[in-house]
């Protein structure tokens, strides 16, 4: 319950406080979104598996965002930024898909 409130509060704050995104940060925003979705669905699945741990949730989210951003940053410096961001999106996308499938099995038993 509190979790949903915190998530909603974050989204509302992000939309209405209109924090300005610095230009250098703009390429990493989509990556951060994918990593955030991965963390949320991973956490939800862990919750349903009854092995949820809030520390793991927070640390994995922050670390994933940082590592993904770093990989993309490195790729940008090497001239393969778009390919590496594709790699990050593919890996995180597969994870999101697998987690959502597991959540679906939990909820619908199918």
């Amino acid at each position: 319950m509190y979790a949903a409130f915190a998530l909603l509060a974050g989204i509302v704050a992000g939309i209405f406080l209109q924090p300005t995104v610095p230009d250098w940060m703009a390429p990493y925003l989509p990556i951060a979104v994918i990593a955030a979705l991965d963390a949320v669905f991973g956490g939800l699945r862990a919750r349903l598996d009854r092995i949820f741990d809030s520390k793991v949730f927070v640390v994995s989210f922050v670390a994933n965002v940082l590592v993904a951003a770093f990989i993309v940053f490195l790729g940008d410096q090497l001239g393969v930024g778009s390919q590496l961001s594709t790699a990050v999106v593919v890996v995180l996308g597969i994870r999101i898909f697998g987690n959502v499938a597991a959540i679906r099995r939990h909820i619908f038993k199918a």
């Binding site: 979790a3 998530l7 974050g10 704050a13 995104v21 809030s54």
Partner: protein
């Protein structure tokens, strides 16, 4: 990691084509292994229910979700903010293109008006014989507007510009060359007068005549003796191709004799490298 030497054990199934470990872990372990490890540290028990969770844990949880929400909210806001700017850029570019086209039209009109002025001044000065030669040359080069009886051909695609039945640039080329061969004295394609260096090319879905985009249905006007043109064009390869297209793909292909067709002047030739040889008097 080095392969384990085969100890001769027969119970171990040998996989000839092992699945790469990377792909297996990617497809199998969609959940962060940290959760399982943390559960193991708690002696494999389930996570404590909300009520018994310590305050520190609770704050982790709330702060993490707040951060996640912030990221999603900021991204939503940034996406919404960048969409109109992309749209604005597009419409501004379109406006620029239109303004440039209008400017080209205005300049071309001014150039032909100035050309007409020059001709009338030259005529009033005399030198008629020389001027008539120049006028003939200008007519041959397509630099003056012309009118006269002729033939109008209207062609149009049979549907999608990329599907079957789409007219290609080379088809129009062939048809126009047929018109020249049939004795046309001046030709315009889609309202663009052809000069000696004109090209008809295709760029994506657009047809470019002398780098000016023209749109289907395209009217091809040719000045010449209409009956002679009509008889001669029927024997050309271009006509045969288009009449085959018309019966096979149902493209539009209409021929009509006109008593008076007016063709605009072609733009003056743009010489980039050539300049006149200085004459010694």
């Amino acid at each position: 990691m080095p392969e384990e030497p085969d100890t001769g054990s027969t119970e171990r199934a040998v996989r000839r084509n092992p699945v790469p470990a990377l792909l297996t872990s990617l497809l199998g372990d969609s959940l962060d292994p940290g959760y399982a490890a943390a559960a193991q540290r708690r002696d494999g028990t389930a996570s404590p229910p909300d009520g018994r969770r310590g305050p520190a844990r609770w704050w982790y949880w709330a702060a993490g979700l707040l951060a996640v929400g912030l990221v999603l909210g900021i991204a939503a806001r940034a996406t919404a903010a960048s969409a109109p700017s992309a749209e604005n850029t597009r419409s501004a570019l379109l406006g620029d293109v239109r303004a440039a086209q209008q400017r080209v039209d205005a300049l071309a009109a001014r150039a032909s008006a100035l050309g007409a002025g020059i001709r009338s001044v030259q005529q009033s000065l005399g030198a008629t014989a020389l001027l008539s030669t120049v006028a003939d040359l200008e007519q041959d080069g397509g630099m003056t507007p012309m009118h006269g009886p002729g033939l109008q051909i209207v062609i149009d695609n049979a549907g999608d510009a990329n599907g079957p039945g789409a007219i290609q640039d080379s088809d129009i080329d062939l048809l126009v060359n047929g018109l020249w061969a049939s004795g046309a004295e001046a030709v315009s394609v889609g309202g663009v007068r052809l000069r000696t260096t004109s090209t008809i090319r295709q760029a994506g879905g657009a047809m470019l005549v002398d780098n000016t985009p023209v749109f289907f249905p395209i009217a091809i006007d040719a000045v010449g003796d209409p009956s002679r043109l009509h008889v001669a064009i029927v024997a050309t390869e271009g006509f045969a191709r288009f009449s085959a297209f018309a019966s096979l793909y149902h493209i539009r292909f209409d021929l009509e004799a006109k008593t008076d067709i007016t063709l605009p002047a072609a733009p003056a030739p743009d010489l980039r490298y050539a300049s006149a040889v200085p004459t010694s008097r």
